[in-house]
C-alpha cells in the first residue's frame, strides 16, 4: 500500500491562502525502460490526482510518465471553512490511494 505524506496547516484564518504539499510513494515506471534481457518494463504510473475541500474539487492534476518517482505536488487553496481536505491518487493497474487532512478555520 502506498504511503502518502500531506502537509496542510492545521489552523488558518478565513480567506487565507494555504499551501498544500503532497508526496506519495510510487515507482512511476515510465514504460520506456527495458530489463537487461531487453523486455520492456510495462508502464505503471499515477495518472490523476484530485484534491477536494469538503467535497468540492479545488485542484486536480493529470500526470504523465515524465513525472518523477514518488510524485510531489505543491498547490494552494483558500481556507474557506473548517472541514476536511481529501486527496485521491489513481493510476495504472487499478492503483488508488486516499488520504485526508483536517483543517480548522477561524
Amino acid at each position: 500500500m502506498a504511503s502518502a505524506l500531506i502537509n496542510v496547516p492545521a489552523r488558518a484564518r478565513r480567506g487565507e491562502i494555504i499551501e498544500i504539499k503532497t508526496l506519495i510513494s510510487h515507482v512511476m515506471e515510465t514504460g520506456f525502460r527495458r530489463t537487461q534481457v531487453g523486455a520492456v518494463i510495462p508502464r505503471n504510473i499515477i495518472r490523476r490526482f484530485v484534491c477536494s475541500y469538503n467535497g468540492t474539487e479545488v485542484f486536480s492534476a493529470d500526470l504523465h510518465p515524465a513525472i518523477s518517482a514518488n510524485p510531489f505536488i505543491v498547490f494552494s487553496t483558500i481556507a474557506t471553512e473548517s472541514g476536511t481536505l481529501a486527496f485521491e491518487w489513481t493510476g495504472d493497474n487499478g492503483f488508488s490511494a486516499k488520504e485526508t487532512a483536517a483543517i480548522t478555520v477561524e
Partner: protein, 154 residues
Amino acid sequence: MERRAFLKIAGGVAAGVGLTSIVTVKPARATPAEMQEAIRAVVGSARITPGKVKLDLPPLIENGNAVPLTVTVDSPMTEAEHVRAVHVFTEKNPQPYVVSFHLGPRAGRARVSTRMRLADSQNVVAVCQLSDGSLWSDSAAVVVTLAACLEDGI
C-alpha cells in the same frame, strides 16, 4: 503451391519485416514538432502569447530523474479572472506531455510545483489557459548532465 498463393504469402512476410524495422528504427524520443502538435492537441488552435507565465527550472541539472519545477502565473485568481489550467511539455523526452494542472478561483494563488524527469538537455514549455480562454506560455532551456530513463531496469 500455386504461384499466386506463394506471392501472397511472400508479400505478407515482406510487409511484416518492413513494419518491424520501422518500429525499431524510430527513437523513443519526441521532437520539437511533436511537442507543438501535443500542445495543439491539448489547448486547441488559439494563439499562444509569451508572457504572464513564469516557469522556474534550475538551468543546470545534475540528475534528470527529479527536477524541481514551479509554474507561477500572474493572475488575480478571482471568479472573473483566474487560471483554468497549466500544462507542461518537453521537446526531447520520449513523450512531450509532462503534467496538466487544473486550477480554479479557489486556488487563491496561481502557483504549482512538482518534480519531473528530463531525458536530455532541452527546452521545457509551460502553457496556461486563463478563464477568458487566452493562452500564455513561457519556456526554459535546461542542461542535463545525467539523463533520466537511461539506467537499466530490473
